[in-house]
Symmetry: C2
Subunit: 255 residues, 2 copies
């Protein structure tokens, strides 16, 4: 199993992902929020790359069953139901709902990688569950870090490294690119004290300054969820609620 890590979305274009197995990581906070929302019973997440498209999609869906959510520069967008804090996505609020989500980095990275043959969402909260699915699939993996406005983001890279480390632990035979090796080294060096690491990254410091200390705590919790979100069509659902079009995933499950 070859693993490559793309540190920011600017490195690869949309077609690069065609036919690949991709994992998208945006620890602070989109991927952590997506894992939390699905864990808490959200029907699906619709990731969008622009605020305008979020509003448009929202207009075409049933009122009451959808929540328009997202942030710009860490803050909830005016008129939206929720921001991008995983703590907002509680069972009471999201169960049964379709969530239309726009975030500065995470949902853009997901939309960019939409031509992947399978696309999974990873945060610190679901690494172990996702690693099991990836090991079962046994395909080469591209890990796309959402980064920070097209710059490198340390927390996403440490999370990528922890996912690689988990795949190593369950005895996958791994061939690591330079970037995957770097992510593994960084996760071993910096991934011991998650709260400290997250608090000292550029994005973490910005969230702390904006009053999101509890988000930092939550986003650093390892493996508190068994949710494995994946993209099917244009929406993210819980794996393995299988879509018939994802035939290769079906085959893996059957075998």
């Amino acid at each position: 199993m070859k693993i490559n890590v793309l540190f920011t979305p600017i490195i690869a274009d949309e077609l690069y992902f065609t036919g690949k197995t991709t994992v998208v990581i945006d620890v602070l906070r989109a991927s952590t929020s997506i894992v939390a929302a699905l864990q808490n019973g959200a029907k699906e997440i619709v990731p969008v790359a622009t605020v305008e498209f979020a509003v448009k999609v929202s207009g075409g869906m049933f009122g009451g069953q959808t929540l328009l959510c997202g942030e710009r520069n860490s803050k909830k967008i005016e008129g939206f139901a929720l921001g991008n804090s995983p703590l907002e996505y509680s069972q009471e609020i999201v169960a049964g709902k379709s969530i239309i989500l726009f975030t500065t980095n995470g949902t853009k990275a997901i939309v960019k990688a939409k031509f992947s043959s399978a696309l999974f969402i990873c945060s610190f909260t679901n690494i172990s569950a996702l690693a099991k699915q990836l090991a079962m699939r046994d395909k080469d993996i591209e890990i796309q870090c959402a980064g920070n406005q097209n710059n490198f983001s340390l927390e996403d890279t440490v999370c990528a490294g922890k996912l690689i480390s988990e795949l190593e632990k369950i005895n996958c035979e791994l061939y690591l690119s330079d970037s995957a090796k770097a992510a593994l080294v960084l996760s071993k060096s910096l991934g011991k004290n998650m709260h400290k690491m997250l608090s000292e990254t550029e994005h973490g410091k910005m969230l702390l300054e904006n009053g999101f200390a509890e988000d930092i705590n939550y986003c650093g919790k390892l493996n508190i969820s068994s949710s494995v979100p994946y993209l099917t069509g244009n929406v993210i659902k819980l794996f393995p609620e299988i879509d018939p079009s994802l035939s290769d995933i079906k085959e893996n499950i059957k075998s």
Copy 2:
């Protein structure tokens, strides 16, 4: 002193560098060759971004005083005097010569960052000498890794980390971006056995397969040169052969 590391040239556009102090690193092998050539008495290096432009520039210069050099996919370009091995740039061959240099990653990265107010070239072979100059300048630094075809390159990043480590040692007060922190951690983890590290990177393995084992040995030698190459106008010279237009550098030297 703020330090940021750009892992590949695709992250920033040309204007990003305007007015900045930039260090370009391409360990395998352009920056190592540039350091070696100037150390061995080359008059100047003219970095170019295309083979066509290399040939054009070469046509406009005095025959006998110029050497047209470079590689494509690690191999010397047909009709060129030298390839991109630092071992080719001996005193006998390069002393007094203007070298027109095209390489797949390194010279492109240098040309892209040409609007920097000061641009220095770094390899493992000249880290200590360069760090002293940078400490004296005391300006924020962008370290541009040349990378590998716009992908992350581990050896360039470890070199960036070693440069940061050297600046730490000489008591510079450093503020590190996420990428600069990552480079520092990687250099501390992977920079102990340079030959092993270089031999195991993607680019290093490719060079070994193509018969460049001696280049790997040479490129991993720490601080064997006191050369500090910098870009002045369109050419790279030895610092401090000062160009009058670089007034801020002159002032630093005087003070």
